[in-house]
């Protein structure tokens, strides 16, 4: 198979973007290969009620309070 591309004129008037976020790209130009991957984690156990952060933090905290 032969893949043939004809790029005729490309004229863009205006690009209005709110945000380019993690692992994203805004590209004006040619490219060969684009790979964008992202892992995002907000599980229920990330929602912590109470001060149980880590032992270290709790120790520091109690030291400061005393």
């Amino acid at each position: 198979m032969n893949f043939t591309v004809h790029n005729w004129g490309l004229n863009v008037n205006y690009i209005d973007v709110l945000g380019v976020s993690t692992s994203s790209i805004l590209l004006v130009g040619d490219t060969n290969c684009v790979k964008l991957s992202s892992q995002f984690d907000t599980p229920p156990e990330s929602y912590i009620v109470g001060a149980a952060i880590s032992d270290e933090t709790l120790q520091d905290r109690s030291e400061k309070q005393t």
Partner: protein
């Protein structure tokens, strides 16, 4: 033959957290970000309280794309320029790239962990009494 990217005017309000605005050609870009975003009631933070090692998301491998096939391809650029009159961007964040010009290869990876921490819930008793 590659095309020229012609941008007449560009305005970017904010470019934060290791993002890049690149004008010119690039052969290879490999941006990577690890982030722990903590929203915590009671602004009391200590450094190193949240090490990346504590969370498996930062060591979990990314699924790799396999089975790349070489395709015989030919490109004909009948016009030497890509013309853009104007670009307005409010913000670029988290190792992102705004790129004017050819970017041959990009392999971007991001790992983001969100944590919410509330103070011990005392509002429950209030609700019950009212």
């Amino acid at each position: 033959m590659i095309r020229n990217s012609v941008v007449r005017k560009m305005k970017v309000n904010e470019n934060s957290f290791s993002s890049i605005i690149n004008i010119g050609d690039t052969v290879y870009a490999e941006p990577y970000i690890r982030a722990i975003a903590i929203q915590k009631e009671g602004a009391f933070f200590l450094p190193d309280s949240f090490p990346f090692e504590n969370y498996p998301i930062f060591s979990r491998p990314f699924p790799e794309m396999t089975g790349k096939r070489d395709l015989s391809q030919s490109h004909f650029n009948h016009h030497p320029d890509i013309l853009v009159d104007g670009i307005r961007i409010i913000g670029a964040s988290g190792s992102s790239i705004i790129h004017i010009g050819k970017l041959e290869n990009i392999d971007a990876r991001a790992r983001v962990k969100h944590i919410r921490i509330l103070e011990r819930d005392i509002s429950n008793t209030d609700h019950q009494s009212s």
